[in-house]
């Protein structure tokens, strides 16, 4: 069929060919850019898995780092320290973040709420080392010693905006009709929020909290100057405490191949934690279906 003869098809001119060619060129460039982004992720993941997985065994979680140069050993104290630090941070970050989220979604009107929302947004963008500096100046320097407690405070502040914004978001998703039904039955505003709205949003809130915990579990910079790191079992929060990212950081500079391999194994543990949390959040907010 001749295109020129067809009344509804544009003529095959040089101009048309040029337009098609530039369209194809852009398509190719866009595909290349997208492939690049995905390839980097897959490459980093595979690299860490290949280097780290063979060294991920029981003693990794139960033993102290081996003496320099000898093989074996693990990162048990770092795993323990990370658990304690994340627990400390949660004690501080969850109530503050959750109440801020509840306030913003349930009472959040007017200029004060706007200011709070703005502050939470700003808090998300501040580099985490700043909160490390804050805890360092406030706790470490006056007490003349690095401590798990100061690390927990620094991580706790980082948790607040993550918990606050995810809980505000999921609380807003609770349908208005459910609130109205509760109010119409005579429940007070507080009773409605505590017994109806919060339970309805509970899955989302919990996954938000899990995400925040996973995020701070991977934080290094604020812990450098607060928890500092240690190579001993230590559950005393007034003493220096180890954490997985800190141990990874120290082992990165190690001259011993076994410690470098263990740094990869630790990285793998951190990445797995965070990916599982991200998938949970995606699942809880119905993200795979809701978003275009």
């Amino acid at each position: 069929m001749s295109a020129a003869a067809h009344p509804f098809l544009p003529p095959r001119s040089a101009h048309m060919l040029r337009r098609r060619a530039s369209n194809l060129l852009i398509l190719a460039l866009a595909v290349a850019a997208a492939l690049f982004a995905v390839a980097i992720l897959i490459y980093l993941l595979l690299y860490v898995i290949v280097r780290g997985l063979p060294f991920l065994n029981v003693s990794f979680f139960t033993e102290l780092p081996a003496a320099f140069g000898s093989s074996g050993g693990g990162m048990g104290e770092a795993v323990q320290g990370t658990l304690i630090l994340v627990g400390l941070a949660s004690i501080m970050g969850i109530p503050l973040g959750l109440c801020t989220g509840i306030y913003l979604s349930e009472f959040g009107r007017g200029s004060f709420a706007g200011a709070v929302r703005f502050t939470v947004m700003v808090l998300t963008g501040i580099p985490t080392i700043i909160f490390g500096l804050f805890a360092w100046v406030l706790i470490v320097i006056p007490s003349h010693g690095f401590s798990g407690l100061s690390g927990g405070v620094a991580l706790g502040i980082i948790m607040i905006p993550i918990v606050a914004s995810t809980s505000e978001e999921v609380l807003r998703l609770v349908p208005k009709e459910i609130r109205e039904a509760s109010l119409a039955l005579g429940a007070t505003e507080a009773r409605t929020i505590l017994s109806v709205v919060l339970p309805a949003a509970l899955n989302g809130i919990i996954t938000g909290i899990v995400l925040a915990m996973a995020r701070i579990a991977g934080e290094t910079a604020p812990l450098l100057m607060t928890a500092f790191g240690s190579t001993f079992w230590n559950a005393d929060i007034t003493q220096p405490m180890d954490a997985l990212p800190l141990r990874i950081f120290v082992f990165t500079n190690s001259p011993y191949p076994i410690q470098i391999s263990q740094a990869y194994a630790g990285s793998l543990v951190l990445i797995a934690l965070i990916f599982i949390a991200s998938f949970a959040v995606r699942w809880a907010t119905g993200g795979f279906r809701r978003r275009r």
Binding site: R20, V38, G97, C99, M121, L123, G125, P127, A221, G287
Partner: protein, 336 residues
């Protein structure tokens, strides 16, 4: 019976009146619990606000000694010298700007390209999965990227990457001097990886707000996909994408761990060469805090922190304002 709009508004008005009456009758008894609950949450909000104010106050009050001692020369002085108690962060500002600009120059075209693919070309079935996978890149802890950057990227740059650049692009001032592996180039590359997902997710969300009908209108006129992107999608989302770029710039300027691990942390004379080692404002803090417990040294570190705080505050406010102008309350993917 059919209800007219007038009758409906009457019914609504009556319902409002009744509910107002019943509320008034029991207000005193019911409201007490509500007031306690509301003020309880408000108390926690105020604590959060107090923490933010506390962070800003600590940064400002502790950096006052260096501010009064050095004034603006703190920003222009080359030496960060605890031995002679002279402090300046010019090399750190230089390193911060060079690495961040490098990251922006490379991450922006790739990020916008990937977003264009996701929004305009990608099959619907793949779109949400791919966007999620790209956002997962944000979730990799910066110490892990630093680990890779230090052990793999830097040694590759040292043995093959930088010599190759030198022999092929050595006529440019950026690729001269002794290859070290660790240095500004490695830090810039690491930052590209770290800010790329942010640019992709903001650009993508902004492009999605462009009404489908506008695309279809141009397609119906016989435009190609690229012409639709160039004449409809990009002009309409320009402001929001700009916001995303500034947000990414803010993150690049403040990133600490991965950069500290690959930038070399040694001052060199500022030159155009990306092979040079250097340091950034945040890597100074991460490297020097051990010895600084008092006096001007401590104050100098806090002032470096204050600079990072102010820079990221400014970029964040500007970026959110630009993105908010696109008529969106929040951007997805920023909290993950």
């Amino acid at each position: 019976m059919k209800t007219t709009p007038l009758m409906q508004s009457n019914i609504a008005a009556q319902a409002r009146r009744v509910s107002a009456l019943t509320r008034r009758g029991t207000r005193g008894k019911r409201r007490l619990g509500d007031i306690i609950f509301r003020n309880f949450t408000l108390l926690f909000v105020l604590i959060t606000l107090a923490l933010v104010v506390g962070v800003a106050w600590i940064l400002v009050s502790y950096s006052l000694p260096t501010i009064t001692a050095f004034g603006f020369s703190f920003l222009t002085n080359q030496a960060f010298d605890p031995v002679h108690n002279v402090f300046g962060v010019a090399p750190a500002i230089f390193g911060t700007l060079v690495t961040s600009c490098f990251a922006i120059i490379f991450a922006v075209p790739i990020g916008i390209g990937a977003a264009i693919f996701l929004v305009e070309f990608c099959p619907l079935a793949l779109r949400s999965m791919l966007a999620f996978v790209m956002e997962l890149l944000v979730a990799i802890p910066s110490v892990v990227i630093g680990l890779w950057g230090f052990l793999v990227l830097a040694s590759w740059l040292n043995s093959s990457g930088e010599p190759w650049l030198q022999s092929h692009l050595g006529f440019l001032p950026f690729f001269r001097g002794q290859p070290h592996g660790l240095g500004l180039l490695a830090a810039g590359i690491v930052l590209v990886i770290m800010i790329l997902p942010l640019i992709i997710s903001v650009s993508r969300e902004v492009m999605l707000t462009v009404p489908q009908s506008q695309r279809e209108a141009l397609l119906a006129l016989g435009a190609t996909r690229w012409e639709v992107i160039r004449h409809v999608v990009l002009p309409a989302s320009r402001v929001g994408i700009m916001g995303g770029i500034i947000l990414a710039l803010g993150r690049a300027l403040g990133e600490t761990m991965a950069v500290t691990m690959v930038i070399g942390n040694q001052a060199t004379k500022p030159s155009a060469s990306l092979f040079d080692t250097g340091y950034t404002l945040s890597s100074v803090i991460a490297n020097q805090f051990g010895e600084a417990t008092q006096g001007l040294f401590l104050s100098a570190l806090l002032e470096a922190g204050l600079l990072v705080f102010l820079i990221t505050l400014a970029t964040n406010v500007l970026a959110r304002w630009l993105v908010a102008r696109m008529g969106r309350m929040s951007i997805g993917g920023l909290n993950t």
